[in-house]
């Protein structure tokens, strides 16, 4: 059983979003980190890069796989989690505590298209 946190928004490609003061924190779900296995590298954009909802902004890598990270919202990257450069395993340890990027949203209404915890639970079939 994967952990799903109430109050977050989820995308079909298993990213979560938490909004604080108009800034979207984006990470991956517990289900996604389990699917990947031991994460060896998190490929992240640079601060000030633009991201677009539905398009890739980075990737997770394990020994035998790579999986794109798809942005659930559009906007400008205002922070990346540099701790993950040296310790990508943090995503395995707690996928919700360890956000990957923060985005200043250009269109907050995009959040409406995302799933809530219950819908996401149904989406992953648990």
């Amino acid at each position: 059983m994967s952990k799903i946190v109430e109050g977050l928004k989820y995308s079909e490609s298993h990213e979560w979003v938490k909004v604080e003061d108009g800034v979207a924190f984006i990470g991956v779900s517990d289900f996604a980190q389990k699917e990947m296995g031991d994460i060896t590298y998190v490929d992240m954009p640079d601060v000030d890069d633009e991201v677009t909802a539905g398009e890739e902004f980075g990737a997770l890598e394990s020994v035998k796989a790579a999986s794109d990270l798809i942005s659930p919202v559009s906007g400008k990257v205002v922070a990346v989690n540099e701790e993950l450069d040296d310790a990508p395993e943090k995503v395995n340890e707690d996928a919700y505590e360890n956000w990957i990027i923060q985005v200043e949203m250009s269109d907050p209404s995009e959040l409406d298209a995302l799933m809530d915890a219950e819908a996401y639970k149904a989406h992953i079939g648990e």
Binding site: T40, Y41, D43, A59, E61, S62, V63, K64, A65, A66
Partner: protein, 442 residues
């Protein structure tokens, strides 16, 4: 018909295997192939030869090639191959292995690749090396793609006109299909022009710049100021180098390069009409994840023993597929072993001695040729090692012809009408004197 040495199947074997499968004849195993595609009639191939016949035939063909004293370089150098190298590289355990996918029974391959990577880093001064690329020119092409991948959205790469023509050609071919525009930096006074480079950088959109440490005139270039100018334009500096010479001239890292590439052929690999050679690439650490090709890393096994594995594979084609930086899969592993054994034998002193012998011989030849009065020095006073160009008073082709008749492969013509010469430690003083005499008489 008598048996064939590479097929162990006896008639009885074939019958019993067909029985087990449940078909009558071997042809039935192709029943799913549309009949029209089964080849009818004989193939237009010669009759099978026996091994002694193949040996005799190929010895005959080898004998049809001219046996020449090589005074030419231009990207392929007649350096000496210690006898240990072919002895080691022909060991079946290395020669007949595949890419080291099953690391538990491939520690031999993985260890020498790790040693090779360490040696490439040592020579170039770069942080990271891959397990090898096809040859120098394709290594330059991979570097070109890498600069584009590392700088996001930029689409222009600059090539020095001092690069060898075969390197330029291959980079141009890759660039054309990869959607990269190629610009050129002229050579002024025997060296890639920093002024022209700056002007091109100002024009913008430059992802990377490829310059030769030693250019096609044999001149050792001075790249002071290149890295600063290129980095200020947020582009990458790629140094193309002859690894043998890196023992004595500034390393790519000392020039501030982001990527170093070149051909490992000068490290004891025979000329062999152009291949197999080995391309090498060293990069700065921050570009590690965009590097093409296999990379070997050190780790431990479950009992804590030191072990080596293919690593950072998520960069590669079998995982990233169309998003990989490169499509490279098989590279030149055995030639990497060749280079590794060479560098182990030569060590730092041997490599310096090779350079000293080649350079002293080349300078001697150049002085003797100038003394004939039949050449002008287009680049007087410019520093060189084993290779140089001269401007002949007669047609360049005629100089080459005269020498060729006497068994010398020398005096290759450049696009400017110069002729180039190269001297390695394999050329004796007698050979050089003989060459000069022919020129005198010609």
């Amino acid at each position: 018909m008598a048996g064939f040495p590479y097929f162990p199947h006896t008639d009885a074997d074939v019958r019993s295997m067909l029985n087990r499968i449940g078909v009558k004849k071997v042809e039935d195993l192709y029943a799913d192939v549309p009949k029209e595609f089964i080849k009818k009639g004989a193939y237009a191939l010669p009759d099978a030869m026996s091994e002694p016949e193949v040996r005799a035939w190929l010895n005959g063909l080898a004998g049809m090639n001219a046996k020449m004293k090589v005074f030419a370089g231009a990207g392929a150098y007649d350096h000496y191959t210690p006898s240990v190298i072919p002895y080691i590289t022909s060991r079946s355990e290395f020669l007949t292995a595949y890419t080291p996918y099953q690391c538990e029974i491939s520690q031999g391959t993985l260890r020498y690749i790790f040693e090779y990577q360490s040696m490439v880093c040592e020579l170039t001064g770069m942080d990271i090396s891959n397990a090898s690329l096809y040859d120098g020119p394709t290594a330059a092409a991979e570097a070109m793609k890498m600069t584009v991948a590392c700088t996001k959205k930029k689409t222009r790469v600059l090539l020095s006109k001092g690069l060898l023509p075969h390197v330029v050609k291959v980079v141009e071919t890759y660039a054309k299909f990869h959607g990269v525009q190629v610009g050129y930096i002229p050579v002024a006074d025997g060296q890639t022009s920093l002024e022209a480079l700056q002007a091109e950088l100002e024009a913008g959109d430059v992802a990377g710049v490829i310059v030769p440490e030693i250019n096609r005139f044999g001149i050792v270039e001075n790249h002071a100021g290149f890295a600063d100018a290129i980095h200020a334009a947020k582009a990458l500096l790629v140094e193309y180098c002859d690894p043998s010479t890196l023992a004595v001239i500034k390393s790519p890292a000392e020039w501030g390069a982001d990527i170093a590439v070149g051909d490992g052929q000068s490290l004891g690999i025979p000329l062999c009409f152009g291949g197999p050679y080995v391309g090498f690439m060293g990069v700065k650490k921050e570009y590690m994840r965009k590097m093409p090709g296999r990379i070997v890393g050190q780790t431990t096994d479950k009992d804590g023993k030191r072990a080596f594995v293919l690593t950072l594979q998520a960069r590669e084609q079998h995982i990233k597929r169309e998003k990989a930086t490169s499509n490279i899969c098989s590279n030149e592993s055995l030639m990497a072993l060749w280079v590794t054994v060479y560098l182990s034998l030569m060590g730092p002193e041997g490599l310096r001695e090779v350079n000293k012998l080649s350079s002293d011989g080349a300078h001697y030849l150049k002085n003797e040729l100038l003394a004939t009065g039949k050449f002008e020095d287009p680049f007087p006073g410019k520093p060189f090692l084993k290779e140089f160009v001269l401007k002949p008073s007669k047609h360049p082709g005629l100089v080459q012809n005269d020498l060729e008749k006497a068994g010398f492969f020398a005096a290759l013509e450049t696009e400017e009408g110069y002729v180039s010469f190269c001297v390695t430690e394999q050329r004796t003083k007698e050979e050089i004197d003989q060459l000069v005499n022919i020129v005198k008489e010609g």
